[in-house]
C-alpha cells in the first residue's frame, strides 16, 4: 500500500508541477547537451580483447610479436609478367617511401625489397658487405633488374616473405604506433596511395588490422544514413498509426531528450565509443520510442474513459510507473551484465548503454505523461482504440490478429500449441548447439565476403605465407635469451616439430633462423659454417653479428628491443575456425614436446592474430553462459519480488530464454558465427523480451480479477489491449531496424539488423503466445493474489474490486 501511495504521490507531483518538471528536464538536457561535444568515437585496439585471457595477456606483455598493428600492401602484376619490370620496381620503391609518410607509422618498421632493411650479404676478400637489395634508386636497366632479381633469390627472407613464389607480387609491410595512429586518417592516406598506384598492369591489395578498422570507420558514415532511415521509418509508422499531434510529437521529443542524455553522459564520462557499437544507441532510441508508445496508448485508453487530459495523464503514470520501471530495470540489468565479459570495449559499452537505458525512467515514464497532458486532446480516440468497431483497418486488423493468437493460448488448442512449442524448442536446441563459435570466413566477418578487404586477405594469403600468425613466445627469465644456445636450439626444435606435423604452418620464423646465416657470413661465407655450435658463446656471437650496425627494431618481429624475449612465428593459410583449432592443437603438442619451462625462459602460447581471435571466441563461448545465467538470476529475483511469486519469474523467463534459443538456432541456420558482436544482442534480446512479458503478464493478472477469474477472457482482454501495444511497438522497431540489413556495407551491421529483427519478432510472438499459454496451462497461484503493487489498475475499490481502465 505504501508503494502504491508513493506512485500516486509521484504522479500527482509530476502532473501537478508540470512546468517545474519540464524546467528540470530542460536544464538536465542542456547539461547533457554540453557533453555531446566531448563524445569520442574511436577504436582502441587493445580494448577489443578479453583482458584476462592468457593469450591477451601474452599479447600485452609482448605487443610487438605478431604485431596486429601492421598493414600489408601487396602489389601484383596482373598481365602475366613478373615484377622485375621498371614500372613495378618503381611502384614498390615509391610505395615504400610513401608509406613512411603515413600518420602514426613506425619509421623503423617498414619492410619491402625497396627498404634498406631488406639486405643481401656478400663476402669478399676485404670483408663482408651487407647492402640493401635495391640500390639508391629503383632499377631501370635490364642489368639492374637482373641484379635485383639475383639478390632477391639469394636472400631467403626476401624470397619467402617479401616476394611471391611465382615472382609476380611483392609486399610492403608497415607497422604503426598505437598511441599515434588515427585509423580514419591512415585509411584515407592508404586508399589514396593505392588509387594512385593501381593501373591496368598492377593490382594493389591492402590488408591488416589497421585497414580493417579504417574500413569500419569508412562505412561508419553509413551509420548516420541508417540512423536517418530508421528514425524516419519509425516516425512515418507512428504518424500513420497515431494520426494526432500528441501521439506523434510526444515519442519524438521524449526519445530526443533520452538520446541527448544518453550521448551527453558518455561525453561527460569521457569514455570513447567503439564505432561498431554505435548502432546500439539507435536501438535504445527505438526502445524509448517503444516505451513511449506503450504509455501513450495507455493514456488514450484513460482519456477515453475519463475525458480529462490531466487525470488521464496522471492515472496513466500511476498505472505504468511500476511495470514500466520494472521493464526498464530488466533492460538496464541486461545491458550492464554485458560487462561480465572482461572485454574493456564491452565494459564501456555496458556502462554507456546501461545508463542510457536507465534514463528511460525519467524520460520514458515521467516525461511522457507530462508532455501528453500539455498537448491537444486527440480527436481520433475511437479510431485509435478501435472501440465498438470504429477503428480503422489497421486497428481492426491488429485486433483480429491478437484475438486469433489468443485462441491458440486457451481452451483445447492450448495443448496442441504447447506440443508445437515443445517440438520447435527441441529442434531449436539441437540446432543451437551446432552454432560455430568464432570466425567462419577467411578475413573478417565484419565486412562482406566480396569487400576489398576480404579480397585482399585472400589474395595475400594465396601469394604469401599468410597474414595470420600464431606466436609462440619465449619469455625470458634472466638475461638476453636470444643470445643463448638453449633458446635458439629450442626454437629450432619447436619449428621442426610443427613443420613436420600433420597440419604444418605455411611458414615459420624465429631469431634462430637468422643466427646461422650470420654465423656463415661472418665466418667467411662457406655454408659449412652455418650451423651454430651448441654453446652460448656461439649464439651470442651470431646475435651480435646480426645486431651490429642495425636498429634493434629491425628484429622486433622475432625478439624484443632488449633481446630478453623472443618468438616463433607460425603462419597459417587463413583464419577460419577449423584452421585456428588445428593450429592450436599442434602448437600445444609441440610445446609439450620441447618443454614449457627452461632454466632461462618460459614458453607461452601465445599471441598473434590467431591467438587473439581465439581469445575472443573462448570468452564469448564461456561468458555468454555467465551473462545468460546472471540475467536469468537477476530477472528471476526481480520479477519474483515484484510479483511476490517465484512462478511469475519463471513464467517470464521461459519465453525470453526460448527466444535466445530460437535466435541462436536461426544464426546457425544462416551461417552466422557466435562472436563478440553477438553478446550485446543476447542481452538486448532478453531485455526487450522480458519487457513484453511483464506488460502482458501484469495485464492478464489484472484482467483476471476484473473478469471474475475467467482466465480465457482475461487473456483475450490483455492481448487486445496491452498485446496491441506490444504488437505495434515490436512492429515499429522491427520495421525500423529491418533496413539495416539492406543499407549497410558493413556485414556486421547487416547481421546485427537481421538478428535484431529476428529476436524482436521471436520475442513478440513468444510474449503474445507463450506467456498466455503458460499462464493458462499452469494457472499459477499468483493470479489469485494481490499484485496491486505492480498492477496497471489505478484505484483500490471498495470490496476488493478494482476499477479497470482497460476493459475493452
Amino acid at each position: 500500500m505504501e508503494a502504491m501511495e508513493l506512485r500516486h504521490r509521484l504522479a500527482r507531483f509530476a502532473l501537478g508541477h508540470r512546468f517545474l518538471v519540464l524546467t528540470v528536464m530542460a536544464l538536465a538536457t542542456a547539461f547533457f547537451a554540453v557533453g555531446l561535444q566531448r563524445i569520442e568515437v574511436r577504436t582502441i585496439f587493445s580494448d577489443l580483447f578479453p583482458k584476462n585471457h592468457p593469450f591477451v595477456q601474452a599479447y600485452k606483455d609482448h605487443p610487438n610479436f605478431g604485431n596486429p598493428l601492421t598493414i600489408t600492401v601487396m602489389v601484383k602484376r596482373k598481365d602475366g609478367k613478373d615484377l622485375y619490370q621498371p614500372e613495378t620496381m618503381k611502384k614498390i620503391w615509391d610505395m615504400s617511401r610513401e608509406i613512411d609518410l603515413a600518420p602514426g607509422v613506425d619509421h623503423d618498421q617498414i619492410l619491402s625489397i625497396a627498404t634498406e632493411k631488406a639486405r643481401y650479404t656478400v663476402v669478399t676478400a676485404d670483408g663482408i658487405y651487407s647492402n640493401p637489395i635495391m640500390d639508391d634508386h629503383p632499377p631501370t636497366t635490364a642489368e639492374e633488374l637482373a641484379e635485383v632479381r639475383r639478390r632477391v633469390n639469394e636472400s631467403a627472407g626476401a624470397r619467402t616473405f617479401l616476394v611471391s613464389e611465382d615472382g609476380t607480387a611483392a609486399v610492403i609491410n608497415a607497422t604503426f604506433i598505437e598511441r599515434l595512429v588515427d585509423y580514419g586518417q591512415l585509411f584515407t592516406f592508404v586508399q589514396d596511395l593505392v588509387a594512385r598506384e593501381r593501373d591496368e598492369a598492377h593490382e594493389v591489395y591492402v590488408a591488416g588490422w589497421p585497414m580493417l578498422t579504417g574500413w569500419v570507420y569508412f562505412f561508419g558514415s553509413d551509420t548516420a544514413k541508417i540512423f536517418g532511415v530508421t528514425l524516419a521509418l519509425m516516425f512515418v509508422l507512428l504518424a500513420l498509426h497515431m494520426r494526432n499531434v500528441a501521439g506523434i510529437v510526444t515519442p519524438v521529443i521524449v526519445s530526443a531528450v533520452s538520446a541527448v542524455w544518453g550521448f551527453g553522459l558518455v561525453g561527460w564520462i569521457g569514455h570513447p565509443v567503439e564505432p561498431l557499437l554505435m548502432v546500439v544507441p539507435l536501438l535504445l532510441i527505438a526502445r524509448c520510442f517503444s516505451h513511449c508508445v506503450q504509455a501513450t496508448e495507455r493514456y488514450y485508453e484513460l482519456l477515453q474513459q475519463f475525458g480529462d487530459k490531466h487525470k488521464a495523464a496522471e492515472t496513466s503514470l500511476v498505472s505504468l510507473m511500476w511495470p514500466g520501471t520494472l521493464g526498464i530495470f530488466t533492460d538496464v540489468v541486461g545491458l550492464l551484465l554485458v560487462a561480465i565479459a572482461p572485454i574493456p570495449a564491452l565494459e564501456r559499452f555496458a556502462l554507456f548503454t546501461g545508463l542510457w537505458a536507465l534514463n528511460l525512467v525519467p524520460t520514458g515514464v515521467f516525461l511522457t505523461p507530462v508532455m501528453l497532458s500539455l498537448l491537444p486532446r486527440p480527436k481520433n480516440l475511437d479510431h485509435l482504440l478501435a472501440t465498438e468497431g470504429q477503428g480503422g483497418a489497421l486497428q481492426r486488423g491488429m485486433q483480429t490478429l491478437l484475438v486469433g493468437i489468443g485462441r491458440f493460448a486457451v481452451g483445447r488448442r492450448a495443448r496442441f500449441t504447447a506440443a508445437v512449442f515443445v517440438v520447435l524448442s527441441a529442434l531449436a536446441l539441437v540446432e543451437m548447439f551446432r552454432i560455430q563459435v568464432g570466425n567462419p570466413v577467411e578475413g573478417s566477418n565484419l565486412l562482406r565476403d566480396d569487400s576489398q578487404f576480404n579480397v585482399a586477405v585472400r589474395e595475400i594469403n594465396r601469394n604469401f605465407p599468410g597474414l595470420m600468425t600464431l606466436e609462440v613466445i619465449f619469455e625470458g627469465k634472466s638475461g638476453r635469451i636470444v643470445r643463448q644456445a638453449d633458446t635458439l636450439g629450442t626454437m629450432q626444435a619447436l619449428q621442426h616439430c610443427l613443420e613436420s606435423g600433420p597440419n604444418p604452418p605455411t611458414a615459420t620464423l624465429s631469431f634462430a633462423d637468422y643466427a646461422p646465416e650470420a654465423n656463415r657470413v661472418f665466418n667467411g661465407g662457406n655454408p659449412k659454417w652455418a650451423p651454430l655450435d651448441p654453446d652460448d658463446a656461439s649464439a651470442a656471437a651470431a646475435a651480435g653479428a646480426l645486431m651490429v650496425g642495425t636498429n634493434a627494431k629491425a628484429y622486433l618481429h622475432v625478439t624484443d628491443f632488449e633481446q630478453e624475449n623472443g618468438t616463433v612465428s607460425l603462419w597459417y593459410p587463413n583464419n577460419k575456425q577449423a584452421t585456428v583449432d588445428a593450429a592450436l592443437v599442434e602448437a600445444r603438442k609441440c610445446i609439450d614436446q620441447v618443454g614449457t619451462s627452461h632454466p632461462n625462459f618460459l614458453i607461452r602460447l601465445g599471441s598473434g592474430s590467431i591467438a587473439l581471435q581465439q581469445s575472443i571466441n573462448d570468452t564469448v563461448d564461456l561468458y555468454q553462459w555467465y551473462i545468460l545465467g546472471a540475467l536469468n538470476l537477476v530477472i528471476l529475483i526481480g520479477c519474483s519480488f515484484a510479483y511476490r511469486s517465484f512462478a511469475a519469474g519463471l513464467v517470464l523467463l521461459v519465453p525470453v530464454n526460448l527466444a535466445n534459443v530460437f535466435l541462436t538456432a536461426a544464426m546457425s541456420l544462416v551461417g552466422l558465427g557466435l562472436d563478440v558482436n553477438s553478446l550485446p544482442i543476447l542481452a538486448i534480446g532478453i531485455g526487450v523480451g522480458i519487457d513484453y512479458g511483464i506488460y502482458l503478464l501484469t495485464r492478464i493478472c489484472e484482467e483476471y480479477h476484473l473478469a471474475h477469474k475467467d482466465l480465457p477472457l482475461a487473456i483475450r482482454s490483455a492481448l487486445t489491449t496491452c498485446g496491441k501495444a506490444i504488437f505495434f511497438t515490436a512492429s515499429l522497431m522491427t520495421l525500423g531496424i529491418a533496413p539495416w540489413y539492406f543499407l549497410s556495407e558493413l556485414k556486421f551491421l547487416s547481421d546485427m539488423g537481421l538478428m535484431l529483427v529476428v529476436v524482436m519478432l521471436i520475442n513478440m510472438v513468444l510474449a503474445l503466445l507463450l506467456v498466455p499459454l503458460l499462464v493458462y496451462l499452469f494457472r499459477p497461484r499468483f493470479l489469485e493474489s494481490d499484485i496491486s503493487v505492480l498492477s496497471e489498475s489505478v484505484e483500490p475499490a471498495p470490496g476488493g474490486l478494482r476499477v479497470s481502465v482497460a476493459t475493452l
Binding site: S130, A540, M547, E562
Partner: protein
C-alpha cells in the same frame, strides 16, 4: 643603468630584422667578435635581458632556480620543443646558471687562439668545401666565426668536432625504454683525430693525409657480449664523399664493410643515436643540402657548469621519466644569441629524416640543441649536448697546458617511440681507458683496422 631602448623587445626586433635581412653579424648592441678579439668579454654586445634569466623573465626565474613543469611556460621559447615536453610532461628539471660572458670558458684554449688567428682566412670553394684563401685545406679553429651563410655556420661544426686535434672520450651510455627502465648499458670509447685543421704545435696537417679530414673510431668495452666490437670511420676532406666505414666483430675476427651511405642506423642494439647524428654534423656536410637560417635569438643551452668532476667517474645524478632515471641532472644558461639552421638530407635517397634543425651558439659556434624531423615533418629525435670547462672546485682536467673544454653528456631522445639514449664522458670506462685530449700516438693505437683487431682480442 637600464636603457629602455635596449629592452627585450628591442632584442627581439633586432633578431627578427637580422634574420629577415640575412645579416649574420652576432651581437645586438655591438658586433660580438671585435669584443671577443679584444677581451673575450661579451657583456657589451647584449642587453641585460639577454645575459641573465632574471632579465629575460622579469625576475620570475632567477639564476639557481630549477625549471620545472610549474614554470617552464616562462621559458618555453628558449627551449627546443622536445626539451619543453620533457620538462612539462616527463618530470625533467633543469637548473639555471649564470650566462657565460667570458668566452674563453667555451673553447679549448688553442682552438680559440687558432680561431682568432685565422679569422678571415677561410672561404668555400666552388664545390662547397672549406679552403684557405689560397685553396688549401683548413688550418684550424672555426673557419667562419662570423659566418655569413648557413653553410659557413655549419662548416664550423663539421670541420673539427671535438675542437681538439684528437680526443679520447671514455663514454658510459644508458638506453632508457618507454617504461623508464634501462634496456641496455654500454661502455665504449670514442676516438677522434683530425688530419687537417689542427691547432697544435705540429702544424695544421698530418703529413700525407691532407685529403682526409679525420679518423674516428668507436670500440665497445662492456658488456661482455659486445666487448671488442668496433667501428672505424675515415672521413675524406671532400665533403661530397661518404666516409669509409668498417666494423669489427671479435667473435668472428673479421672486418665488415658497411654500405657507405647507411648512416641512419645505430652502432649497436638499443641506441637511438645514429652515425648521422654525431655532433649534429655526423655526415659529410655536402651530402646534406638546402642549408638555411630560419631564426636567431636567445636560447637555453647546457654550455657551462656541467662537469661533475667531484662525482665518482664524473657520472651524475638522474631523475624524471617513469622510473626516475630518464634525464641527467643538467645546468643550462641563457645563451644570448643562437642561430637556427635547417638542412635536408639531399644525398640520401632512403633517408628516414626530412630535415634537421640545429641551434648554434654564436659565442663558440657549437650546437646547443638539434632535432630531426621525420618525412611527415613531425619531430622524431632530439639531441641535447652538455658542455663545460673541466674544472670544479679544486678539480681540473688539462688538455695540455690549459684547462680542457669538452662535452660532458648528451641526451638523445626518440620522442616518437619515447626511447632515450643518454651518455656521459666519464673519467674511465670498463677496460681501463680514460678520457683525454691531444695525446700522441692515437692513430696507431685506435684508428686503424689492425688496431681494431688488436683491441678486439
Amino acid at each position: 643603468m637600464h636603457i629602455r631602448k635596449f629592452d627585450f623587445d628591442y632584442s627581439r626586433r633586432n633578431f627578427m630584422e637580422k634574420t629577415a635581412k640575412g645579416i649574420l653579424t652576432a651581437g645586438v648592441l655591438t658586433p660580438l667578435w671585435p669584443l671577443i678579439a679584444h677581451s673575450a668579454d661579451i657583456t657589451k654586445a647584449y642587453p641585460d635581458e639577454l645575459l641573465s634569466i632574471e632579465g629575460y623573465t622579469k625576475g620570475k626565474i632567477k639564476t639557481g632556480d630549477l625549471i620545472t613543469a610549474d614554470n617552464v611556460e616562462l621559458v618555453k621559447n628558449l627551449l627546443d620543443p622536445v626539451a619543453y615536453r620533457q620538462v612539462k610532461e616527463m618530470g625533467r628539471r633543469i637548473r639555471i646558471v649564470a650566462s657565460t660572458r667570458d668566452v674563453t670558458r667555451m673553447y679549448p684554449h688553442e682552438y680559440l687562439e687558432a680561431t682568432l688567428r685565422n679569422k678571415g682566412k677561410a672561404k668555400l670553394d666552388q664545390d662547397g668545401n672549406v679552403v684557405t684563401t689560397d685553396g688549401k685545406p683548413w688550418i684550424g679553429g672555426n673557419p667562419f666565426p662570423e659566418g655569413t651563410s648557413a653553410n659557413e655556420v655549419f662548416a664550423n661544426l663539421t670541420l673539427c668536432w671535438g675542437r681538439h686535434d684528437n680526443s679520447v672520450y671514455a663514454v658510459r651510455d644508458w638506453e632508457i625504454g618507454p617504461d623508464g627502465d634501462v634496456s641496455y648499458q654500454y661502455d665504449f670509447v670514442w676516438v677522434e683525430e683530425n688530419t687537417v685543421a689542427r691547432v697544435g704545435a705540429g702544424g695544421p696537417y698530418l703529413k700525407g693525409l691532407e685529403d682526409k679530414l679525420r679518423f674516428q673510431s668507436v670500440f665497445f668495452t662492456s658488456p661482455a657480449d659486445v666487448k671488442g666490437t668496433s667501428y672505424l670511420n675515415t672521413w675524406h676532406y671532400d665533403q661530397r664523399k661518404f666516409p669509409d666505414l668498417v666494423g669489427y666483430l671479435p667473435a668472428f675476427k673479421r672486418v665488415r664493410k658497411f654500405p657507405t651511405n647507411q648512416r641512419f642506423e645505430p652502432l649497436v642494439a638499443g641506441m637511438a643515436l645514429y652515425l648521422s647524428d654525431a655532433w649534429a654534423a655526423g655526415d659529410p656536410m655536402l651530402t646534406w643540402g638546402n642549408y638555411k637560417i630560419v631564426g636567431r635569438g636567445p636560447f637555453l643551452g647546457a654550455v657551462s657548469e656541467n662537469w661533475y668532476g667531484d662525482h665518482a667517474n664524473w657520472e651524475r645524478p638522474v631523475h624524471g621519466g617513469p622510473k626516475g632515471q630518464t634525464f641527467f641532472e643538467t645546468q643550462m644558461e641563457l645563451c644570448p644569441e643562437v642561430i637556427v639552421v635547417e638542412a635536408e638530407p639531399v644525398g640520401y635517397s632512403r633517408a628516414p629524416v626530412s630535415k634537421k634543425r640545429v641551434w648554434i651558439d654564436v659565442r663558440n659556434m657549437m650546437y646547443v640543441a638539434y632535432v630531426t624531423y621525420d618525412r611527415r615533418g613531425e619531430i622524431w629525435k632530439q639531441f641535447e649536448p652538455q658542455y663545460s670547462l673541466y674544472e670544479k672546485g679544486g678539480a681540473r682536467v688539462l688538455d695540455g697546458k690549459n684547462t680542457a673544454w669538452s662535452w660532458t653528456g648528451v641526451h638523445c631522445h626518440d620522442i616518437q617511440s619515447n626511447r632515450m639514449t643518454r651518455f656521459v664522458q666519464a673519467k674511465t670506462v670498463a677496460g681501463g681507458v680514460s678520457s683525454g685530449y691531444n695525446q700522441a700516438g692515437l692513430y696507431e693505437k685506435y684508428l686503424t683496422e689492425q688496431a681494431m683487431q688488436r683491441l678486439g682480442t
